[in-house]
Symmetry: C2
Subunit: 175 residues, 2 copies
Protein backbone atom coordinates (compact mmCIF):
# COMPACT_ATOMS: atom_id res chain seq x y z
CA UNK A 1 0.00 0.00 0.00
CA UNK A 2 1.33 3.41 -0.96
CA UNK A 3 1.27 5.69 2.04
CA UNK A 4 3.23 8.60 0.55
CA UNK A 5 0.19 10.87 0.95
CA UNK A 6 0.77 10.74 4.71
CA UNK A 7 3.93 12.78 4.26
CA UNK A 8 1.79 15.85 3.58
CA UNK A 9 0.59 15.57 7.18
CA UNK A 10 4.07 15.34 8.67
CA UNK A 11 5.36 18.76 9.66
CA UNK A 12 8.99 19.51 8.87
CA UNK A 13 10.59 21.61 11.62
CA UNK A 14 14.06 22.98 10.79
CA UNK A 15 16.74 23.25 13.49
CA UNK A 16 15.01 21.04 16.08
CA UNK A 17 16.16 19.82 18.54
CA UNK A 18 19.34 21.63 17.47
CA UNK A 19 20.68 23.70 14.55
CA UNK A 20 21.09 21.76 11.32
CA UNK A 21 18.60 19.01 12.18
CA UNK A 22 15.36 18.77 10.18
CA UNK A 23 12.77 17.23 12.51
CA UNK A 24 9.84 15.24 11.10
CA UNK A 25 6.95 16.08 13.42
CA UNK A 26 4.27 13.38 13.40
CA UNK A 27 1.92 15.17 15.81
CA UNK A 28 0.21 16.77 12.80
CA UNK A 29 -0.48 13.27 11.43
CA UNK A 30 -1.61 11.83 14.77
CA UNK A 31 -4.34 14.42 15.26
CA UNK A 32 -5.96 13.43 11.96
CA UNK A 33 -8.25 10.47 12.76
CA UNK A 34 -8.10 8.86 9.30
CA UNK A 35 -4.31 9.05 9.18
CA UNK A 36 -3.85 7.63 12.67
CA UNK A 37 -6.09 4.73 11.62
CA UNK A 38 -4.19 4.27 8.34
CA UNK A 39 -0.87 3.99 10.19
CA UNK A 40 -2.09 1.47 12.76
CA UNK A 41 -3.97 -0.58 10.18
CA UNK A 42 -0.95 -0.69 7.86
CA UNK A 43 1.26 -2.07 10.65
CA UNK A 44 -1.50 -4.49 11.72
CA UNK A 45 -1.89 -5.81 8.18
CA UNK A 46 1.86 -6.30 7.86
CA UNK A 47 2.19 -8.32 11.06
CA UNK A 48 -1.15 -10.03 11.55
CA UNK A 49 0.10 -13.45 10.45
CA UNK A 50 3.43 -13.20 12.24
CA UNK A 51 2.45 -14.83 15.53
CA UNK A 52 3.23 -11.71 17.55
CA UNK A 53 2.54 -12.24 21.27
CA UNK A 54 3.87 -8.89 22.51
CA UNK A 55 4.32 -5.49 20.91
CA UNK A 56 7.12 -3.60 22.56
CA UNK A 57 7.46 0.20 22.58
CA UNK A 58 10.27 2.43 23.79
CA UNK A 59 9.57 5.47 25.98
CA UNK A 60 8.25 8.02 25.14
CA UNK A 61 7.19 8.26 21.47
CA UNK A 62 7.22 4.49 20.98
CA UNK A 63 4.38 4.34 23.50
CA UNK A 64 2.20 6.16 20.98
CA UNK A 65 2.09 3.35 18.42
CA UNK A 66 2.95 0.09 20.17
CA UNK A 67 -0.11 -0.25 22.46
CA UNK A 68 -2.53 0.76 19.69
CA UNK A 69 -0.94 -1.82 17.41
CA UNK A 70 -1.04 -4.43 20.19
CA UNK A 71 -4.76 -3.72 20.57
CA UNK A 72 -5.32 -4.02 16.82
CA UNK A 73 -3.33 -7.28 16.61
CA UNK A 74 -4.79 -8.87 19.75
CA UNK A 75 -1.35 -8.94 21.36
CA UNK A 76 -0.01 -7.59 24.66
CA UNK A 77 2.05 -4.43 25.14
CA UNK A 78 5.43 -4.26 26.87
CA UNK A 79 7.10 -0.93 27.73
CA UNK A 80 10.85 -0.36 27.53
CA UNK A 81 11.80 2.59 29.68
CA UNK A 82 14.62 4.88 30.70
CA UNK A 83 16.54 3.71 33.81
CA UNK A 84 14.72 3.59 37.16
CA UNK A 85 11.24 4.20 35.76
CA UNK A 86 10.09 0.58 35.92
CA UNK A 87 8.86 -0.41 39.41
CA UNK A 88 9.75 -4.13 39.46
CA UNK A 89 12.93 -6.10 38.79
CA UNK A 90 14.39 -5.11 35.43
CA UNK A 91 17.39 -5.73 33.20
CA UNK A 92 19.35 -2.99 31.44
CA UNK A 93 21.15 -2.42 28.14
CA UNK A 94 23.39 0.52 27.34
CA UNK A 95 23.74 2.09 23.92
CA UNK A 96 25.92 4.76 22.34
CA UNK A 97 24.80 8.33 21.83
CA UNK A 98 26.63 10.91 19.73
CA UNK A 99 28.36 11.90 22.96
CA UNK A 100 28.32 9.34 25.79
CA UNK A 101 25.89 6.52 26.50
CA UNK A 102 22.30 6.04 27.56
CA UNK A 103 20.43 2.97 28.80
CA UNK A 104 17.06 1.23 28.52
CA UNK A 105 15.32 -1.21 30.85
CA UNK A 106 12.70 -3.93 30.59
CA UNK A 107 10.96 -5.89 33.36
CA UNK A 108 12.46 -9.36 33.81
CA UNK A 109 9.02 -10.96 33.56
CA UNK A 110 7.84 -8.90 30.57
CA UNK A 111 8.65 -11.49 27.91
CA UNK A 112 8.38 -15.27 28.17
CA UNK A 113 10.99 -17.59 26.65
CA UNK A 114 10.19 -18.23 22.99
CA UNK A 115 7.56 -15.47 22.76
CA UNK A 116 7.54 -13.58 19.48
CA UNK A 117 7.97 -9.86 20.06
CA UNK A 118 7.44 -7.00 17.61
CA UNK A 119 9.43 -3.84 18.36
CA UNK A 120 7.64 -0.65 17.29
CA UNK A 121 8.81 2.94 17.29
CA UNK A 122 7.90 6.16 15.54
CA UNK A 123 11.34 6.67 14.02
CA UNK A 124 14.32 4.65 12.80
CA UNK A 125 17.28 7.02 12.89
CA UNK A 126 20.74 5.65 13.79
CA UNK A 127 19.25 2.41 15.12
CA UNK A 128 20.98 2.52 18.49
CA UNK A 129 17.87 2.29 20.65
CA UNK A 130 16.31 -0.30 18.36
CA UNK A 131 19.35 -2.58 18.54
CA UNK A 132 19.54 -2.21 22.34
CA UNK A 133 15.84 -3.09 22.57
CA UNK A 134 16.41 -6.28 20.56
CA UNK A 135 19.22 -7.26 22.95
CA UNK A 136 16.85 -6.80 25.91
CA UNK A 137 14.25 -9.08 24.29
CA UNK A 138 16.83 -11.74 23.49
CA UNK A 139 18.36 -11.64 26.98
CA UNK A 140 14.90 -12.61 28.28
CA UNK A 141 14.69 -15.48 25.80
CA UNK A 142 12.20 -13.75 23.49
CA UNK A 143 12.34 -13.86 19.70
CA UNK A 144 12.35 -10.60 17.75
CA UNK A 145 9.62 -11.08 15.14
CA UNK A 146 10.52 -7.78 13.49
CA UNK A 147 10.80 -4.02 13.76
CA UNK A 148 8.01 -1.70 12.67
CA UNK A 149 8.64 2.02 12.24
CA UNK A 150 6.45 4.83 11.02
CA UNK A 151 9.33 6.92 9.65
CA UNK A 152 12.80 5.77 8.55
CA UNK A 153 15.60 8.26 7.89
CA UNK A 154 17.37 6.20 5.23
CA UNK A 155 20.46 8.44 5.13
CA UNK A 156 21.33 7.56 8.75
CA UNK A 157 21.63 3.87 7.80
CA UNK A 158 20.03 2.64 11.04
CA UNK A 159 18.88 -0.45 9.14
CA UNK A 160 22.50 -1.64 9.02
CA UNK A 161 22.52 -1.93 12.81
CA UNK A 162 19.49 -4.23 12.54
CA UNK A 163 20.99 -6.60 9.95
CA UNK A 164 19.45 -10.07 10.16
CA UNK A 165 16.10 -8.78 11.43
CA UNK A 166 12.91 -8.10 9.53
CA UNK A 167 12.61 -4.29 9.38
CA UNK A 168 9.58 -2.47 7.95
CA UNK A 169 9.01 1.28 7.78
CA UNK A 170 5.89 2.93 6.45
CA UNK A 171 7.59 6.11 5.25
CA UNK A 172 11.14 6.83 4.10
CA UNK A 173 13.08 10.08 3.93
CA UNK A 174 16.33 10.61 2.03
CA UNK A 175 17.42 13.71 3.88
CA UNK B 1 -19.34 -3.42 33.54
CA UNK B 2 -17.50 -4.84 36.54
CA UNK B 3 -13.78 -4.79 35.88
CA UNK B 4 -12.61 -5.71 39.37
CA UNK B 5 -11.02 -8.91 38.04
CA UNK B 6 -8.41 -6.73 36.33
CA UNK B 7 -6.97 -5.85 39.73
CA UNK B 8 -5.52 -9.34 39.97
CA UNK B 9 -3.29 -8.42 37.03
CA UNK B 10 -2.05 -5.17 38.58
CA UNK B 11 1.17 -5.70 40.48
CA UNK B 12 1.48 -3.92 43.83
CA UNK B 13 5.05 -2.72 44.40
CA UNK B 14 5.78 -1.41 47.93
CA UNK B 15 8.14 1.51 48.46
CA UNK B 16 8.25 2.69 44.84
CA UNK B 17 9.24 5.29 43.76
CA UNK B 18 10.05 6.03 47.41
CA UNK B 19 9.58 4.51 50.88
CA UNK B 20 5.99 4.40 52.07
CA UNK B 21 4.43 4.57 48.60
CA UNK B 22 2.52 1.53 47.27
CA UNK B 23 2.84 1.62 43.49
CA UNK B 24 0.15 0.03 41.27
CA UNK B 25 2.10 -1.41 38.35
CA UNK B 26 -0.08 -1.81 35.26
CA UNK B 27 2.64 -3.36 33.08
CA UNK B 28 1.48 -6.80 34.23
CA UNK B 29 -2.00 -5.97 32.92
CA UNK B 30 -0.78 -4.47 29.65
CA UNK B 31 1.13 -7.58 28.61
CA UNK B 32 -2.06 -9.66 28.83
CA UNK B 33 -3.79 -9.27 25.43
CA UNK B 34 -7.33 -9.84 26.71
CA UNK B 35 -6.94 -7.34 29.55
CA UNK B 36 -5.43 -4.65 27.32
CA UNK B 37 -8.41 -5.11 25.01
CA UNK B 38 -10.86 -5.00 27.91
CA UNK B 39 -9.44 -1.68 29.14
CA UNK B 40 -9.49 0.01 25.73
CA UNK B 41 -12.95 -1.33 24.88
CA UNK B 42 -14.37 -0.20 28.24
CA UNK B 43 -13.15 3.36 27.66
CA UNK B 44 -14.36 3.25 24.03
CA UNK B 45 -17.82 2.10 25.08
CA UNK B 46 -18.01 4.86 27.69
CA UNK B 47 -17.16 7.67 25.26
CA UNK B 48 -18.34 6.48 21.86
CA UNK B 49 -21.39 8.74 21.83
CA UNK B 50 -19.61 11.75 23.31
CA UNK B 51 -18.53 13.44 20.07
CA UNK B 52 -14.84 13.18 20.93
CA UNK B 53 -12.65 14.67 18.17
CA UNK B 54 -9.30 14.30 19.93
CA UNK B 55 -8.01 12.03 22.66
CA UNK B 56 -5.25 13.69 24.61
CA UNK B 57 -2.53 11.84 26.54
CA UNK B 58 0.17 13.14 28.86
CA UNK B 59 3.79 11.95 28.55
CA UNK B 60 4.84 9.23 29.22
CA UNK B 61 2.33 6.69 30.58
CA UNK B 62 -0.66 8.58 29.18
CA UNK B 63 0.73 7.82 25.73
CA UNK B 64 0.01 4.14 26.38
CA UNK B 65 -3.78 4.46 26.43
CA UNK B 66 -4.74 7.65 24.62
CA UNK B 67 -3.67 6.72 21.06
CA UNK B 68 -5.15 3.22 21.32
CA UNK B 69 -8.41 4.73 22.52
CA UNK B 70 -8.30 7.37 19.75
CA UNK B 71 -7.89 4.53 17.24
CA UNK B 72 -10.81 2.61 18.75
CA UNK B 73 -13.03 5.71 18.81
CA UNK B 74 -12.09 6.98 15.35
CA UNK B 75 -10.66 10.16 16.87
CA UNK B 76 -7.25 11.83 16.61
CA UNK B 77 -4.50 11.76 19.23
CA UNK B 78 -2.82 14.82 20.76
CA UNK B 79 0.29 14.53 22.95
CA UNK B 80 0.91 16.75 25.97
CA UNK B 81 4.61 16.76 26.81
CA UNK B 82 7.20 17.94 29.28
CA UNK B 83 8.75 21.33 28.41
CA UNK B 84 10.85 21.64 25.23
CA UNK B 85 9.96 18.23 23.83
CA UNK B 86 7.42 19.49 21.29
CA UNK B 87 9.07 20.74 18.07
CA UNK B 88 6.58 23.44 16.99
CA UNK B 89 5.02 26.46 18.69
CA UNK B 90 3.50 25.42 22.03
CA UNK B 91 1.79 26.88 25.08
CA UNK B 92 2.65 25.94 28.65
CA UNK B 93 0.91 25.39 31.99
CA UNK B 94 2.62 24.98 35.34
CA UNK B 95 1.34 22.83 38.17
CA UNK B 96 2.29 22.14 41.76
CA UNK B 97 4.33 19.17 42.87
CA UNK B 98 4.84 18.09 46.45
CA UNK B 99 7.99 20.22 46.37
CA UNK B 100 8.18 22.88 43.65
CA UNK B 101 6.46 23.06 40.26
CA UNK B 102 6.54 21.27 36.93
CA UNK B 103 5.08 22.20 33.55
CA UNK B 104 3.33 20.69 30.54
CA UNK B 105 3.09 21.87 26.94
CA UNK B 106 0.74 21.41 23.99
CA UNK B 107 1.17 22.51 20.38
CA UNK B 108 -0.80 25.68 19.61
CA UNK B 109 -2.44 24.02 16.60
CA UNK B 110 -3.22 20.73 18.34
CA UNK B 111 -6.85 21.53 19.21
CA UNK B 112 -9.33 23.55 17.17
CA UNK B 113 -11.78 25.96 18.77
CA UNK B 114 -14.88 24.11 19.94
CA UNK B 115 -13.39 20.65 19.44
CA UNK B 116 -14.37 18.10 22.06
CA UNK B 117 -11.31 16.62 23.75
CA UNK B 118 -11.09 13.57 26.00
CA UNK B 119 -8.14 13.55 28.42
CA UNK B 120 -6.84 10.05 29.18
CA UNK B 121 -4.20 8.88 31.62
CA UNK B 122 -3.27 5.68 33.39
CA UNK B 123 -3.66 7.13 36.87
CA UNK B 124 -5.64 9.79 38.73
CA UNK B 125 -3.62 10.60 41.84
CA UNK B 126 -3.62 14.18 43.18
CA UNK B 127 -5.10 15.53 39.94
CA UNK B 128 -2.47 18.20 39.36
CA UNK B 129 -1.42 17.13 35.88
CA UNK B 130 -5.00 16.42 34.86
CA UNK B 131 -6.17 19.89 35.89
CA UNK B 132 -3.21 21.53 34.11
CA UNK B 133 -4.01 19.54 30.99
CA UNK B 134 -7.61 20.79 31.04
CA UNK B 135 -6.34 24.37 31.27
CA UNK B 136 -4.17 23.79 28.18
CA UNK B 137 -7.16 22.50 26.21
CA UNK B 138 -9.33 25.42 27.27
CA UNK B 139 -6.66 28.01 26.48
CA UNK B 140 -6.75 26.71 22.90
CA UNK B 141 -10.54 27.02 22.82
CA UNK B 142 -11.20 23.29 23.09
CA UNK B 143 -13.94 21.72 25.20
CA UNK B 144 -13.03 19.05 27.76
CA UNK B 145 -15.48 16.22 27.04
CA UNK B 146 -14.24 14.30 30.06
CA UNK B 147 -11.40 12.54 31.81
CA UNK B 148 -10.81 8.81 31.48
CA UNK B 149 -8.44 7.01 33.85
CA UNK B 150 -7.54 3.36 34.23
CA UNK B 151 -6.76 3.61 37.95
CA UNK B 152 -8.00 6.17 40.49
CA UNK B 153 -6.45 6.49 43.95
CA UNK B 154 -9.60 7.66 45.73
CA UNK B 155 -7.79 8.55 48.97
CA UNK B 156 -5.77 11.28 47.22
CA UNK B 157 -9.00 13.10 46.27
CA UNK B 158 -7.74 14.10 42.81
CA UNK B 159 -11.35 14.16 41.65
CA UNK B 160 -11.92 17.29 43.74
CA UNK B 161 -9.44 19.17 41.54
CA UNK B 162 -11.55 18.20 38.53
CA UNK B 163 -14.88 19.40 39.93
CA UNK B 164 -17.32 20.31 37.17
CA UNK B 165 -15.85 17.84 34.69
CA UNK B 166 -17.02 14.36 33.77
CA UNK B 167 -14.49 11.99 35.35
CA UNK B 168 -14.52 8.21 34.82
CA UNK B 169 -12.06 5.66 36.21
CA UNK B 170 -12.16 1.95 35.46
CA UNK B 171 -10.61 0.85 38.77
CA UNK B 172 -10.57 2.43 42.23
CA UNK B 173 -8.21 1.93 45.15
CA UNK B 174 -8.87 3.05 48.73
CA UNK B 175 -5.28 2.92 49.90
Amino acid sequence: MNLEHLKKLIREVPDFPKPGILFYDITTLLKDPASLKTVIDALRDRYKGAGVAQVLGVEARGFIFAPALAYALGAGFVPVRKPKKLPAKAIREEYQLEYGTDALEIHEDAVQKGQRVLIVDDLLATGGTAAATARLVEKLGGVVAGFGFVVELDFLKGREKLAGYEVHSLLHYDK
